[in-house]
Symmetry: C2
Subunit: 335 residues, 2 copies
Amino acid sequence: MSIKRIAEMTGLSITTVSHAINGTRAVSQHSKQLVDEAVKKIGYKPNLAAQMLKTNRSHIIALIIPSTEPNNSTNCFFFDVLNGAREKLHASGYDLMVATYSEQEGEKHLANLQVLEKRLVDGVLLVPFDRDVTSLTEIRSLGIPIVLVDRRVENCSLPSVYSDNLEGARKAVHLLAQNGRKRIAFLCGNCEFSTSYDRHLGFLKGMEEAEIPIDENLVFIDLPYQLETGRSIAGVLLKNKIDAVFSANNVLLMGLLQYFNENGISVPQDISVVGFDDYDWMNIASCPITATFQDPYHMGCEAARLMLETLEGKDTHNQRMALPCELILRESHKA
Amino acid sequence: MSIKRIAEMTGLSITTVSHAINGTRAVSQHSKQLVDEAVKKIGYKPNLAAQMLKTNRSHIIALIIPSTEPNNSTNCFFFDVLNGAREKLHASGYDLMVATYSEQEGEKHLANLQVLEKRLVDGVLLVPFDRDVTSLTEIRSLGIPIVLVDRRVENCSLPSVYSDNLEGARKAVHLLAQNGRKRIAFLCGNCEFSTSYDRHLGFLKGMEEAEIPIDENLVFIDLPYQLETGRSIAGVLLKNKIDAVFSANNVLLMGLLQYFNENGISVPQDISVVGFDDYDWMNIASCPITATFQDPYHMGCEAARLMLETLEGKDTHNQRMALPCELILRESHKA
DNA sequence: CGTTTGCGCGAAAACGTTTGGTGATAAATT
DNA sequence: AATTTATCACCAAACGTTTTCGCGCAAACG
């Protein structure tokens, strides 16, 4: 343990050893080599606590995400974000921690998270609660670098990475319209999240561009993410004689498909379907599901990149990355 | 910042303030109250780095898991483990970090993980690579408490939490046998992982108990986790006139189902199916899938509990928890 | 020759805690 | 009354780094 030990072994001073290890100052060839050997010999690793105490930097970044129910496929998404971020950060000598906050209380107590209270982390990758910038005032006041991930926040200068949900949704509607569908239904979740909000906007824009009037009876927003909700809406939609549905959420989509299956509706002959996000099961649904694909792993990487740049002192204010959403064409969109 | 500040505000010594905050020694009612007020007033939080330096404890636990491909449903599983562990630990004032290792190199370099090198964590929740205890010698030599999660290691005294995969698989076979199936196929992944290994054992045991002779042509182990593998095996199985299949892995299962769908095989009329793990999509497959259910969230909780006990100084050697796997009955197992 | 410049090094002061040792005072026990 | 015990407080030494300041020496400069 300890740099002191190395100093004794090499006959050098603590100062010199420190500089030799960190390259903070010129050190003679000879000393450098002595230190290197000693370090290798006793397997010396600097004590992080001491470094932190002195430098106020931990080389640890936190990823803060909403807490979700177990067995929820959203978890898969965030896990990929996590992996992307972790690998990118790791390459620069940073570690990653995970923290979550309850969506019930929103971000009211975001600044009270242990990780932040302990002043343990050098930066935060944050999946924010809603689109409202005032939710962030508390956590911003901590003076710790923040990068927003997955969800946009309006009128906010923080660097952000998210999928171009609007464009993705627009593409999906276009695809359905191109296949001659006119009575297109839309489902999405809580529009306080920019993801749902933007997909809704994209839907509306796509419909307008395709010159299809909106039938309010076919548009469902702010839905809870439950199979059962999808099923019951499917019933309503069938009565309204739809010929296509774009579900911006995959759990709702599963509910729809289940109902369609049970009621002898065939996809895509009777109803065309497009979903959001790409999951393995979409290949094995009774009809393989066409969907827009986001790349959460890449999102994590980019978030990490922005964080690293921020930590290097670059000005990343107002830097926003909207990652493209690609359509994955299978069968369900066809007419 | 700093306890010193509190000392100045209250007119007490640093020592007394420290004891007042930590309750490490008796402090007068009066002093205690003074300190509490001052702490609240300036929002004092102890500096973790300093505490770590002094006490060698960080109140941080690492969860170390194999790194997986993006968009892999295994991720979902580990994420739930993570959430369970995190919540449990949090309640006792601990934070959780995540680290991964590449399955390619196994655990050769497990001890080289940054988190461990930096001596940052008080304990490790580890999803081990294989069943061989020698893979762990290096990481054990670090002298840091370890709890094994999800996968068993043979002849290993470390406290462990895992699903009772053998029993789960046995139940699945029984179910199929009860429904009169005799030509039962079995698929599973890499048997270096105790999960696959135990499921295979459970399959064999179940078959023996049901007095069905094993047909080697229907048993596939050490398979890669790919849709395509499942598909191609499905072809082979059909030629071998099976009437049921138990897939111990869900991706392989999806491959099977896809092939069955495409070739007009109906589940469960032609072939009964039982899977492992519970996913939403199992409800919406052409026939709802019966499967054995593991509870990863609970697994995480229990792992955390064992870790906390270990850290409290309790002797947790040889403490093993095999969590029960319940069958979730849907339609696909029927004959 | 006197002055600068550059290089290599070391002493020592932080950083913010925890904690063993030591008193001082008051209460309880002989 | 003399001793023990209990209660409360403080001093100061760690913990292992980083970093400011300054020293000596040799080479380069005018």
